[in-house]
Symmetry: C2
Subunit: 842 residues, 2 copies
């Protein structure tokens, strides 16, 4: 064993560390410690590689001397984290005329020439960056050397030291390149991340006896289930087996020849090695191996490649077998991995005919016929046809059409536009901001420059995971919420210490989340309940009411519908808390915007068209987001909230009959002043008393506030005094803190993020510095004024791991997120609890 300050032979006792030599060097040392047959390997530290990049070479005589004369060498990257990348492996370093001659003697001329020729090409192209077109595969080494000399203006080097020097220098410099730096920094590598290298004696894989190379792993990369997969290439080198048609299976297989047929003991040894690594490295590894005249050598092992589903299956299996603790299984899975498992995906092997690209706004893939209106989507659904709703952008009126569609595609908008938010809520794939689309809603056509025109009814596929729109119907893979997924969520529930509720407006939402389990509904938006055609008509009558009596008459007709909505939700939730937000949007959202709609409405209401048009115009607002909505409507037209409160309380009575009593939570939106809460509370308490006395049933309820204006956060102390809970609505709070409309920001958000004005879209990821400070202030003040108050975050950010971390640190009771974010949220919450307990026990 020879160790210098510049390099170290990898032995069981050598001082090899991940931090200095990189993960591959460390992993190889582990294999050595397991007494697996690893060829002699030397590790160069990141400091050494840094020196090499600056021109200071280690003692090359000493380095090559370790391997002995005539050895061929390979060099591989060994960065600290596998994700950070690094230059590709170079094999067969040391091939010279002399070594080639020797090889020809032992392995035959053809094999020797092929090896030599390959190395010359690799050296020329990958090391010296000469033009690859010069070196074809059928050339002789002699001709290749001539071409090399012409191009490089020096002869092909004939010493292993000279070759290795260039290889190391080229790899060291490649690491410093801009692209490599940007790529690894995108993976979270620090500015000063270094590259280790490992130099290994080649196990040739060619020879007279059973010789060749292969790659093997013991689980399916797609499912994570036990299954030997891999390839073996007789007389091959490196990972070539994976791409060569001549490659064999590993296990005996009736589809063709297999290594096991010719060398069962080698496969048995591989199985044993895999099992050993699984136990001792506590991971499913992919092994690169060579057979030399029947002798097994293990060159390298890496964490085996895997799909999201396999990742979960492997972690759960390792923990189930107690190889790793459950805590580790939970922390191994990046939370968003679960997201990919919830949705259909385009089969990675399918051919993709990409029509256009937009923003990947909601994950999953779906195929269907193009429709251009919510109505058409509903018709298609009624006929049992799959459809894709294509709109310039969506609005609340489209909600039923969105329910009916298989996916949503919009020309405008971003990650947080209406379409994106609703689609994620519904679990529908969605691509927004597909700005190269030209939509002609009248002609019902869809055009992308240079492509044929698409008409309503033609079939496309929306891939909301990649942001692509595909022509036709490529094969899709079904989601897999199998045992391992359920087990992982179950474990997450055991460990997490913050509640996870979901935002659910309808029975369908609740059913979507049933598989995952939640602690309750954190945000039930009631306005979507009014877009059903029958209700919409009554709603419009209410809006056109001449005075309070007419308004109350219309609301009376809505009451039984709302009561039925809530009764159903309460029953479905089986006693878990349901937080109902009172009516929030401006009334004009319920009115038609076009001439036809106005004419139809005038007929329905038996009013002159001009009256209807005038009323609609009078309700228009300059900035609806900042206008007459939420509690402002609740105070100015109190009959609406009174109807809703009555529906909630009557549903409470109905749903509690013969069951555990329901304790509804009622949330007031858009509060900016304490007195708003006082006024609404007085009325709602009044309705509660009335329902109690009418029904002769007592019930409890909690009244709280949605904190979504900066002022409500600042005045949280006095607002808390009148509230049983506060739930921070981070969507609107972000809009108001930035003075930025979510619907309008799409136009410049990507430019802003690209230029680094905002680090990230604040509607996508919670702005901890600005919005976060208001959350902190609001939380502190509310808790100081009323220590027991229930606090939470609802809204899109609620499902983000960093928002959950924020909420947990702030001492919130729960977060509430879209149904399809619940698994991610649960896992993130569990990881936080596990990490916190690790810190504590440290």
């Amino acid at each position: 064993m020879l160790t210098t300050p510049d390099f170290a032979e990898i032995t069981a006792d050598a001082d090899i560390s991940n931090a200095r030599h990189g993960n591959r060097a460390k992993c190889l040392q582990r294999l050595v410690r397991l007494e697996l047959p690893v060829p002699l390997t030397v590790a160069l530290s990141a400091d050494t590689v840094r020196s090499i990049a600056k021109g200071k070479m280690p003692d090359m005589e000493a380095l090559t001397g370790i391997f002995g004369k005539g050895s061929l060498l390979s060099v591989r990257s060994s960065s600290q984290m596998p994700d950070w990348g690094g230059p590709g492996t170079i094999l067969n370093i040391g091939m010279t005329d002399a070594v080639a001659e020797e090889l020809a003697r032992t392995h035959g001329r053809d094999a020797a020439d092929a090896l030599y020729m390959n190395f010359i090409r690799t050296y020329a192209v990958d090391v010296l960056r000469l033009d690859g077109d010069l070196f074809s595969g059928t050339m002789t080494p002699r001709l290749a050397k001539t071409y090399f000399e012409d191009e490089a203006e020096e002869p092909f080097p004939q010493s292993i030291e000279a070759q290795l020097t260039e290889v190391l220098r080229s790899m060291a410099r490649a690491w410093e390149g801009t692209t490599a730096r940007l790529l690894r920094q995108a993976q979270g590598a620090p500015e000063d991340a270094g590259l280790g290298l490992v130099v290994q004696r080649m196990a040739l894989g060619i020879g007279q006896g059973i010789s060749g190379s292969g790659v093997v792993q013991f689980v399916s990369p797609a499912t994570g289930e036990p299954q030997i997969t891999g390839r073996y290439l007789p007389q091959g080198q490196g990972r070539a087996a994976l791409s060569e048609d001549k490659a064999q299976f590993i296990e005996s297989d009736n589809r063709g020849p297999a290594l096991e047929d010719s060398a069962p003991e080698a496969v048995a040894a591989l199985r044993e090695a895999g099992s050993l690594m699984r136990q001792r490295l506590r991971e499913e590894m992919q092994i690169e191996f060579t057979l030399m005249n029947g002798t097994l050598q293990i060159l390298d092992a890496v964490k085996c490649p895997r799909s999201a589903r396999a990742e979960v299956a492997i972690a759960v299996a390792l923990a189930s077998e107690k190889i790793i603790p459950r805590e580790e299984a939970l922390t191994r899975i990046p939370p968003f991995t679960l997201n990919q498992m919830l949705h259909r995906q385009v089969n990675p092997e399918a051919k993709r005919d990409v029509l256009t690209r937009g923003i990947a706004a909601a994950p999953g893939a779906a195929t269907g016929r193009i429709v251009f209106s919510a109505g058409a989507a509903q018709s298609a659904a009624a006929q049992g046809e799959s459809c894709i709703l294509v709109r310039r952008e969506t609005s609340p009126e489209d909600i039923r059409g969105m329910h009916a569609a298989q996916a949503i595609l919009t020309e405008r908008g971003g990650m947080t536009s209406h379409a994106a938010v609703i689609a994620r809520g519904l679990g529908l794939p969605c691509v927004t901001g597909a700005s190269h689309l030209q939509l002609d809603a009248r002609k019902k056509t869809l055009t992308v420059a240079g492509r044929k025109v698409f008409h309503e009814g033609e079939i496309i596929t929306v891939d909301g995971s990649s942001g692509e729109v595909l022509v036709g119907a490529p094969a899709l893979i079904e989601p897999a919420l199998g045992g391992a997924f359920a087990t992982l969520l179950h474990w997450a529930d055991e460990f997490r210490d913050i509640g996870i509720r979901c935002n659910a407006d309808t029975k369908e939402d609740v059913e979507a989340v049933r598989a995952f389990g939640v602690d309750g509904i954190g945000l039930c938006r009631t306005e979507h309940m009014f877009f059903d055609p029958i209700r919409l008509t009554v709603m419009r009558e209410m809006i056109f009411a001449e005075g309070p009596e007419d308004r109350i008459a219309a609301l009376k007709r809505l009451l039984p519908m709302q009561r039925a909505d809530f009764t159903e939700l309460f029953k479905l939730m089986e006693g878990k808390p349901v937080c109902i937000r009172l009516f929030d949007p401006p009334l004009h959202e319920f009115l038609p915007g076009d001439r036809d709609g106005i004419r139809a409405l005038a007929e329905a209401l038996d009013l002159p068209v001009s009256r209807v048009a005038t009323r609609i115009e009078a309700l228009q607002e300059f900035n609806p987001m900042l206008g007459m909505r939420g509690v402002r409507l609740g105070i100015t037209v109190p009959e609406i909230y009174e109807m809703q409160a009555r529906a909630i309380f009557e549903a409470t009575v109905a749903a509690s009959k013969g069951r555990d009593p329901v304790v509804p939570e009622i949330m007031i939106p858009l509060v900016s002043a304490m007195r708003e809460v006082e006024l609404v509370k007085a009325r709602i308490d009044g309705v509660a008393s009335a329902v109690k006395s009418e029904s002769n049933v007592d019930f409890a309820y909690r009244l709280g506030v949605m904190v979504e204006t900066p002022r409500a956060a600042l005045r949280a102390a006095e607002i808390a005094e009148h509230s049983a809970f506060l739930s921070f609505g981070t969507n609107d709070l972000t809009q108001m803190t930035y003075g930025l409309s979510r619907d309008d920001a799409g136009r410049f958000m990507s430019a802003y993020v690209t230029q680094g004005v905002f680090h990230e879209d604040p509607f996508h990821r919670l702005d901890v510095e600005g919005v976060g400070e208001l959350l902190r202030l609001g939380t502190e003040r509310a808790r100081a004024a009323k220590p027991g108050i229930i606090l939470s975050i609802c809204g899109e950010h609620g499902g983000q791991p960093d928002t959950i971390a924020f909420a947990r640190d702030a001492g919130h009771d729960y977060v509430s997120c879209s149904p399809y974010r619940v698994p991610v949220a649960k896992l993130a919450a569990a990881q936080l609890a596990v990490k916190a307990s690790m810190v504590k026990s440290d």
Copy 2:
């Protein structure tokens, strides 16, 4: 002198205090101390009156005993502050059959009967609240007593104790009434404010010799100039002289008989009393007096009634004569008093034919012909005709029409709608929210239910001080910015210790403020500069530009116009700082909204109508307030800010030629993140370098930020590091803190204020609790990060006394307000400095 716990005779040494006995009692004591001939008077404390209201009477024998048998008495209110009101004076208490007989003997039957009859009626109606219709003036006392007995079911009381008891009880109870309480609380009285009463021996004013009563003061109530005004009624009582046709002048007057003609020595004595009060009470008083057989008695004296102009003139005169210090003159004038002096007013004596009422959005009155469009207003102005611009609501496109009009009237909007804000800025009278108006812009008619239809060209008068719209042209009073006004402002400048700048966009704005003097321009909005028709066309070409080159070409044509704008402003401001806000509004504000406009624009740009319509539609936003405007535009379309910066710097060079160097201030609007400032700063610094090198002139400039999003306030520390100044734009900051659009809030703001949801319209008066906290945080953080940074508040609130107090406490350098608010702001600032120095010297 008799003093009991319940009442005290008012003598020079008596223990009379304003707090306990009220201001009238205290003032009467001062008159006694000045040895003026005041009839015997007894003061009842507020505690005594409170007891009386609860039914506990003081010792009435003792009380009446003070005055001696046969005396008649009067009772007057004596609340702590004159503004707080109180029940009316009751005279002649003690009139009984016996006293009437005695009076008939000494003064004649008719006089005695008249007195008695009047007292019976007063006692019945004002004290016992009987029906006034029963008691006509021509009745005999005998008949009146019969009616009294029928109605009151008891005989008319024949003892002074009985009468006085009822009078005191009725006055004590009236003070507790709801209306009285609400009225005095509206004047700032505390919940527990009490009422004192004074009981005075009547000086009858009837008799054989020169007898009568009068009221006199020594300054004009309209102008405050020295001038004896008042009336004297021979054989009269109380203040009757002021309303009787038979009353005489005080001084000899060729219009009719005067007291001075018959009793010159009495008038001389009154002159001397007035002069004495002026010196010793340090105020111009109005004196109520009686002559009894030539003997003068002074019954009462109150601060003389006065117009705003007189108030200023009196205070300045008293200070000029060193009767009061200047500090006191400054603090005596409520700041908003000055506002009334800046504008024409409807003559209080003119007949008002009120067409409708709205919100008094900008003070002053103006008469003109109705016009329904900005264009019509400009045509009228071109023909030298006065006009009133009547719109549903105004938008930035109307700005030139508003300049051309004499007043603005809008159907919608509130105190802070576009029309109101601009009108106050321009000093134009404005009534908004005149919701009973029905405007038909196509037919060019204006209707109010039940009135005739008004057509374009008919004459109306807008009274922006009262909120009324009057038919025709009532007489107006000119504003008076005379010597006293100027002197007061000059004194304010001497005392105030915070800068007052004005918001000025145009030469006209600067000229409007010239009379008042300012420390600079705190907010020059550049967007109004683009609404001139020629510029608007170029602006639209810029918006429709195909790419940066076309855009730059259009901007190059705007450059010389902007440069000329700024050069003119800099020269007019003569070296005082000018803070220019870079372009702020969304681009769609510059595009036409109707078909005709779109067609005209398409012709002007030589583009198909459909292209123009599509582009306009593409620029529409859901919430323009929260959209693509301000710095977002500056970063996304950087050419606009670069053009503006160049115009500013070239104007700096031009305006500095041969004068003191101009140091322009450039302000970036709508910042929410530090990086926005960095990016814009880099570009503007680049433009400055270019202009310096091209012109070969060096100049300094300051780049700062308009803090108008909550996030900018929260992140003030890091923003300050890149800024020479921060100016808090409280309009937008209020909108975003509340999540409330100023333009849309009008619909419910009055209901909100009425129900006490908001104490006041936060756009009208700074919300100290919410918005104020963000201001405080922003101020603290900016100063901590950069101690020398210049801080200020601009926007509508800047002219409010309480905002100025807030800014001064926070250590801001200046506030900036509308030109017409400058006098108010200066006076308010001076008052704060005076009060602070008083506290310090305490």
